[in-house]
């Protein structure tokens, strides 16, 4: 593939997971080496052997996962690797002055003396950008920069990017979020399966058209699946993926919910638990989930959603409150008991909680279910049964490549997530707790995950959906709880959905008029 990036433009690169966006950018940043072809900067052919070469040529990269030292200050992080010195010693004051100057020059509001671990995610990202600019980056590559940001922070980032372009810098933005790309980019490059399939200007296209370009032939898989589950996909999927909520499932009442409510799977009152830092994270949450409904948990990041999911899956002990989960007590629940009772879990932190990346794909599919058929026979692993089940699931969830013996870390993030969703749903859970199930996924994978969750609901599974993406919650959930500082500040049924009111509740407006 070939791609030109003009000076002083904001180019967005969009494409599905595994389309090659990140590989392309890693080539530009010197992390990967092209098998063939060449990279030219300012018309000169260059060989980028390492990120050092790229930095020397004025190419800076902001990774999806920040590369910052949390216990150092902003200034220290920015100058790390090229610290100003005085008589051979680190000149802290000069570092602070220099970084402050850089911040001012590009219009960033950052305190160079602040420790990075005290900053919000959005500010940490600014530190990353300042770091690249401080090293003289003319071309700035941002990999999925808004995946971790709140909507307000994302808007702020868009302003920052436009500001940089106005100052003559070049910005390359890798993203899945088409709406956002359309709003900010000068030009959009669409990649599919390692090729550049289109270059368009935002004024000449729409989210739906871009989505169609991105999905290409894999759209067939989505369509095929939708036909099987009787859902109104793929248009739904496309609309959702581009951030346009599909309201009310066309007014169809949820199976098992609505008219004829199913059995109560979970009923809890006054749940309290501590967060990782030891401070109360849940301060009295009442919650009920029935068979065949999707219950959304909405809220701004860090308001107790993660802790709630961990309490329900036995990973975090309760400090107060009580509940009944699938016929047993919620107090003292262990992860093994939760699984035995039929709780499935798609956790937020995939690599830490959901998978063991050094184990093979099939071993990860067995993880948590490895004690019974088809994964084990008595005390022994059933290799044939495991392989067969893995192959079935990989094919059914369109995991690429469908190789059960590959180490899981060889798969792209989206495909890893498909493996997790496949494993959890294959266990036919009665209650499924999913946290941020589509974060960082591409459009095709998002549509597939959403379709699978609806399918699970249709089969009677109760789903607890925790998502920071309010539109995702609204599109999928039959009922929504809004969490703020560890308390429920609002409850909405589908008929009562009101984005603005929910937003107010998410910011703590508890007593407001509905």
């Amino acid at each position: 593939m070939s791609l030109d990036i003009g000076a002083g433009e904001l180019l967005a690169v969009v494409g599905e997971n595994g389309a090659g966006k990140s590989s392309l950018m890693n080539v530009l940043y010197g992390l990967y080496h092209p098998d063939s072809g060449e990279v030219s900067v300012d018309g000169r052919s260059v060989r980028l052997k390492s990120p050092g070469d790229a930095i020397a040529l004025g190419i800076g990269m902001v990774h999806q996962h920040f590369m910052l030292v949390p216990t150092l200050t902003v200034a220290e992080n920015v100058v790390l690797g090229r610290e100003p010195t005085r008589r051979g010693l680190f000149d802290w004051e000069r570092a602070v002055r220099e970084v402050a100057a850089t911040c001012e020059r590009f219009g960033f509001v950052l305190d160079p003396r602040a420790r990075v671990d005290t900053l919000t995610v959005g500010s940490q990202q600014k530190v990353e950008i300042v770091k690249a600019l401080h090293r003289g980056a003319q071309v700035l590559i941002l990999d999925e920069p808004t995946a971790v940001l709140t909507p307000q922070e994302a808007d702020e980032l868009a302003r920052v990017m436009r500001g940089l372009v106005a100052q003559g810098r070049t910005v390359v933005l890798i993203s899945h979020k088409l709406k956002e790309v359309l709003g900010v980019a000068d030009r959009i490059a669409v990649m599919r399966r390692g090729r550049l399939v289109a270059e368009v200007r935002p004024s000449e296209t729409s989210a739906t058209a871009l989505a169609a370009l991105m999905v290409g032939e894999s759209q067939r898989a989505v369509t095929g699946h939708a036909a099987a589950s009787g859902e109104k996909l793929p248009s739904d999927a496309l609309m959702e993926a581009v951030g346009l909520p599909v309201r009310g499932d066309d007014g169809r009442p949820a199976p098992g919910g609505g008219e004829k409510p199913g059995d109560v799977l979970l009923e809890a009152t006054g749940l309290q638990a501590r967060g990782d830092n030891g401070c109360p994270a849940l301060r009295g949450v009442d919650l009920a989930v029935r068979e065949g409904e999707i219950v959304g948990i909405a809220g701004v990041d860090g308001n107790g959603q993660r802790e709630l999911a961990e309490v329900l899956t036995g990973l975090r002990p309760l400090t107060a409150g009580r509940g009944t989960l699938l016929g047993g007590a919620l107090t003292g629940l262990t992860p093994a008991q939760a699984r035995a009772r039929g709780v499935g879990h798609v956790p937020e932190d995939r690599l830490r909680r959901a998978v063991v990346k050094a184990l093979s794909v099939e071993e990860n599919i067995a993880l948590g279910r490895h004690t019974g058929p088809p994964f084990a026979r008595g005390l022994w692993i059933d290799f044939a049964g495991r392989r067969e089940r893995a192959q079935t699931l990989l094919a059914s969830y369109d995991v690429r490549p469908p190789e059960p013996t590959l180490p899981l870390q060889a798969l792209s993030g989206g495909n890893q997530q498909k493996v997790v969703v496949a494993r959890e749903l294959d266990a036919r859970p009665r209650l499924l707790v999913v946290v941020q199930p589509t974060r960082g996924l591409d459009i095709g994978a998002v549509a597939q995950v959403h379709a699978r969750l609806r399918e699970a609901r249709a089969q009677g599974t109760g789903v607890v959906l925790v998502s920071l993406d309010l539109e995702e919650v609204l599109a999928l959930a039959d009922r929504v709880y809004v969490l703020f500082e560890g308390r429920v500040t609002g409850q909405f049924t589908r008929a009562e959905y009101d984005e603005r009111e929910m937003g107010r509740r998410m910011l703590g407006a508890e007593q407001a008029h509905g």
Binding site: D35, P335, V356, E363, S412
Partner: protein, 381 residues
Amino acid sequence: MGERTRQALPSVLSVLLSLVVCWQLIALTRDTDGTAVATAAYLEMLWGGIGDWPRFIEGAAVTVLTRPLGEAAMKAALLTLTGLSVAVAFKVGLFNIGAQGQMLLGALAAAVVGAHVTLPGVLHIPAALLGAAVAGAAWAGIAGALKLYRGVHEVISTIMLNWVAVRLVDNWLVVGPLRGVAEAGASISGTAEIHPTSQLPRLLGDSSRLNLGFILAVVAAVTVWAWLARTRSGFETRAVGLGDEAARAAGIPVARRAGFAMALAGALAGLAGAVLVLGTEGRYPGTLGAPYGFDGIAIALIGNNHPLGVGAAALFFGVLRAGGTRMQLLDVHKSFPELIQGLALLFVAGRLIWLAALRRRSTPTVATAAPPAPAAQVPHA
């Protein structure tokens, strides 16, 4: 290139490289005929390890084969057991530096059961082995419990327990309460001689020290391999070692798996002590100087912490060390096998460099998706 080959290749290349380097070093120590002497020394080392085939073919007695083979096999058995000890702990994410201390305790237990308990032959050996395994497991269990309940890092505690073991066993029990008394009141060093019923039977006649301990080590390696690769609990153990949070979320009892692996590690090291006492020493000697427990760390790493790899590495270095003494015939110091082992360990530690070199050769079908630096190869520090 298959996954297994790719895993084993860095170790094989490291060993070969260290052989070349040491060959060169021997050659450099000579004013004349350096390379010829080095080659001859290597040949002596080989015949000293796998049996002197040239002399046997010339008509010498079969003992020229069985004696060296016995020496090599017994060293290999001890290295296998201590190497497995380190490898098993490593699989669950723990670094067992304490195989030496666990071996000492196991050796003492075997010596006590062998000398002070009277049992028929069929039961005496199993009882002594069991005693050694339990003693080793208990000693490792101290470090395991400190880790699980108090968060004490196992590297620190196992190193300290090694010293405690030396003081406790060599400097007190063996010279004090458990000191053996020979007939006629003459004192001997070490504990009392074990009963013949507890001696591990020799397999190749009296002139070769090859005994049941070698079979025991082979069985241990295969059993540990089968457990890790084929059973549910082995899978759980590996999952805990590679990602304990994910294992916990999957309902695996992380603490129990870690505790069991640590106890098994201690039991294996304890068995090494039993093989030493019941197979060759016949009692706990005045001091048990042989640092097989520390060698186990090197063997485990060279064997890539794979039970069968550990067995292969132990066999190789068992042969080298048994043959090393014969190099002295050519005025070459007998410590060269240890130097080879040390260098091989050093090169294996550069595993990431090997892997990077190997990856560059093979077409990056998967490599493009893999993270640039597989830091997971580094043991939990």
